[in-house]
Symmetry: C2
Subunit: 433 residues, 2 copies
């Protein structure tokens, strides 16, 4: 962890530079996977699964029986904890459902909006050493609340060719309709083009490695939407001298243990804190199973000593972190000055892990500075908004003459005619439904 004291604004760009996911280098390989799945469907998916996961599967779809059995393979304390997280995530995401009123814009002109679920959505859950059931909750709960009628989940098969019971348990709890033991770019390709086993979807959600990220990018060229651009995970912490260095160390390490390309940033006005945090980090690393990964991530990480808290806020807004922890007594006021961040954790007792798992907020958040222009995942991400308008005879009489002037000045005469014909019909009392 590098320490920088009172950096000049001209150096902020360099100090907040992020480790890059090198997507471009894998694009040719991913293109060839996409191409294969587009042309050969399941056969290609099975072939790539054999090639990359070393598994000959006969079925991609996880059977109902396997899913049922998994319900008994999850220990009760984990079930209870998943249930606790489920309740909170559901509560927060249910509040995001919006009913829009009809608006009488002027007499006889009524407009309104409606959020309509996306028909078919694909959720991707990465593999790895541990089952990421928390990501299942974060993707599938809003999908179900949005009312999506077709929710499919893809996740790489484990070494036995099956899916971890905790994933299956969470997926069933959330109402996922179909689960497929397919990972990597071949999963994204199947969701993009459809195969015999796996339906094509309208939007793909979820995190993944470079191959998955590249495949999602390519999917957007085929008419499929994606949740957001992906990059390595990151946290920024703003703290003052009152902060507990151990809390901060654990928060920084929570992020660092995610992956070697994670980035953590401490921004403070306290020379003491900037000296004590690295010691606390070293101490905690000793007992951390994923210390190797965390150490590599810490090489991308920086402790920045600033002149005052205002400057801390400025550089954080400049950085636009995915996660922002504000560990100060007046964290609430500081939070009001934040313009760019994915999710904000307020006060000394709100670690990032609360939002990663169970406070209720979503943990699928914009990385790589995308907090400047993207929202984190929410229930509306699984819907689209349709607008409606209805004019009565009074409405067309009031609005029509203005539309005629506007259309004429844009030289769009059929636009004008469509209005004129209706105004004339109303004069003659015709066609007024």
């Amino acid at each position: 962890m590098q320490i920088y004291r009172y950096p000049k604004e001209v150096d902020w760009a360099k100090l907040t530079q992020r480790p890059e996911m090198n997507i471009r280098s894998v694009v040719p390989a991913v293109q060839s996977i996409m191409h294969g799945v587009k042309n050969e469907g399941d056969q290609a998916v099975l072939r790539f699964t054999e090639e990359f996961d070393g598994l000959r599967l006969s079925n991609l779809r996880v059977s109902d029986k396997t899913i049922s059995t998994s319900q008994n393979e999850v220990v009760p304390p984990l079930k209870q904890a998943i249930g606790h997280a489920f309740d909170n995530i559901e509560r927060f995401h249910k509040a995001q459902l919006t009913d829009y009123p009809e608006l009488e814009i002027e007499p006889g002109v009524v407009c309104w909006q409606k959020d309509v679920p996306i028909d078919r959505v694909g959720l991707y859950i990465p593999g790895g050493t541990a089952p990421l059931f928390s990501s299942v909750l974060m993707l599938a709960i809003p999908a179900r609340l949005a009312g999506c009628p077709n929710i499919y989940l893809c996740t790489p098969p484990d070494q036995n060719g099956t899916v971890h019971p905790a994933i299956l348990y969470a997926a069933r709890l959330c109402g996922v309709h179909e689960i497929f033991a397919v990972g990597g770019a071949q999963a994204i390709a199947a969701l993009t083009y459809g195969t015999h086993s796996i339906s094509r979807v309208d939007k793909i959600f979820g995190p993944g490695n470079r191959y998955v990220t590249a495949a999602k990018q390519l999917a957007t060229l085929e008419g499929v939407a994606i949740d957001m651009p992906a990059g390595p995970s990151e946290v920024a912490v703003i703290a003052d001298k009152q902060a507990n260095a151990d809390f901060i160390a654990a928060d920084l390490l929570s992020q660092a243990e995610h992956g070697q390309d994670s980035q953590v940033l401490l921004v403070t006005d306290s020379p003491e804190l900037i000296a004590t945090v690295p010691i606390a980090v070293e101490n905690q690393l000793k007992s951390l199973p994923r210390a190797d990964i965390a150490r590599q991530a810490l090489e991308n990480s920086r402790l920045l000593l600033m002149h005052n808290i205002e400057e801390c806020v400025d550089i954080v807004n400049y950085y636009a972190p995915e996660h922002l922890i504000i560990n100060m007594p007046d964290a609430r006021q500081i939070a009001q000055k934040i313009r760019n961040a994915g999710s904000v954790f307020i006060g000394s007792l709100t670690p990032e892990s609360s939002g990663d798992y169970a406070s209720g907020t979503n943990h699928t958040l914009p990385t790589s500075g995308y907090a400047r222009n993207y929202s984190g995942l929410n229930t509306r991400s699984f819907m689209k908004t349709i607008t409606y308008q209805e004019l009565s005879s009074e409405g067309i009489n009031r609005l029509g003459p203005s539309i005629e002037v506007l259309a004429e000045n844009e030289q769009l005469h059929a636009h004008k005619l469509a209005v004129t014909l209706r105004i004339n019909a109303v004069k003659e009392n015709k066609n007024e439904y």
Copy 2:
């Protein structure tokens, strides 16, 4: 216009195929423009303006004086009509601003959301034979309502190297901060990378030709967000035998006159209507200034006779039109069955031109079937949603144990530690801010 009677479902894909904007063929040229502007800034922008627009400009920025003068160059009836549209669009888009309540998810765990304006937004208005002031209103009104502090507008210079007064008038009315006489891919490049004259932005909005569309796609690889993928404009009309064929003809022509790659679709259960509409279209074409463009567009267009209205609804949901006109007495009920559309026009007296100009809804809508997975432009398109959470000592005591279980099962031990340390501190009455 081709007529198809009772097409089988297996043929729907072919019948609803859209004319494609051939983006790929212009990508190399656009890449070279992007590259030039990235490296040479204003100089490259001026050079490309000379090359493509045939104009040697000395300034890219439209001066305050020019903008002020333009206010007197717009005739009062047009000012009045623009004002009418402005009021309605503002009213509908203001209602889209959302205040989210704080939610106590469980005792001591408070979560909330806030929509925060995107800092810098770029609006693109295409050139052409007529000034598209309506697009200025549609982009700039929600940008201003969202509270974006930096709203920039780029539009190609006209033959005198200036911008049409009606564009300048609308832009000032809407509170645009800076206007630049730059068009094409070089405008998008300048907004993406920033130049001496033109600031880099976080998100780019607005329609454009293939070059602009390709440049916007490339911009997304540089950390800039865009409003939505673009394609040729389109309308579908559902009508029954009671519909006035002249209304429908004018609605179809309103879309067809936009451009030769526009697509119009009439879907009806009435054999009479499908016979009378082409005659009405031919009649109206005779007096239409843009008849040549419209005729070309009509070649991409289809009249589909279906067995009943339910089937009309099904094929429309399959097609996912940008604009949908429902011209029937029970249009409201039918509208409730629509799952995929950008904007819906209800009843015989609501032409597409009402929403194109002045009903209040936005006319920047998803094309090319993207109504399946994208919303039209709205005030939230100019904002991002940040989530917040704050745990009290009660909150961490209640939530902490579940997070510990979840983190341990995902093998993320620092995540667990960040909670454990806080639970222990609360036990000892420490650090409870």
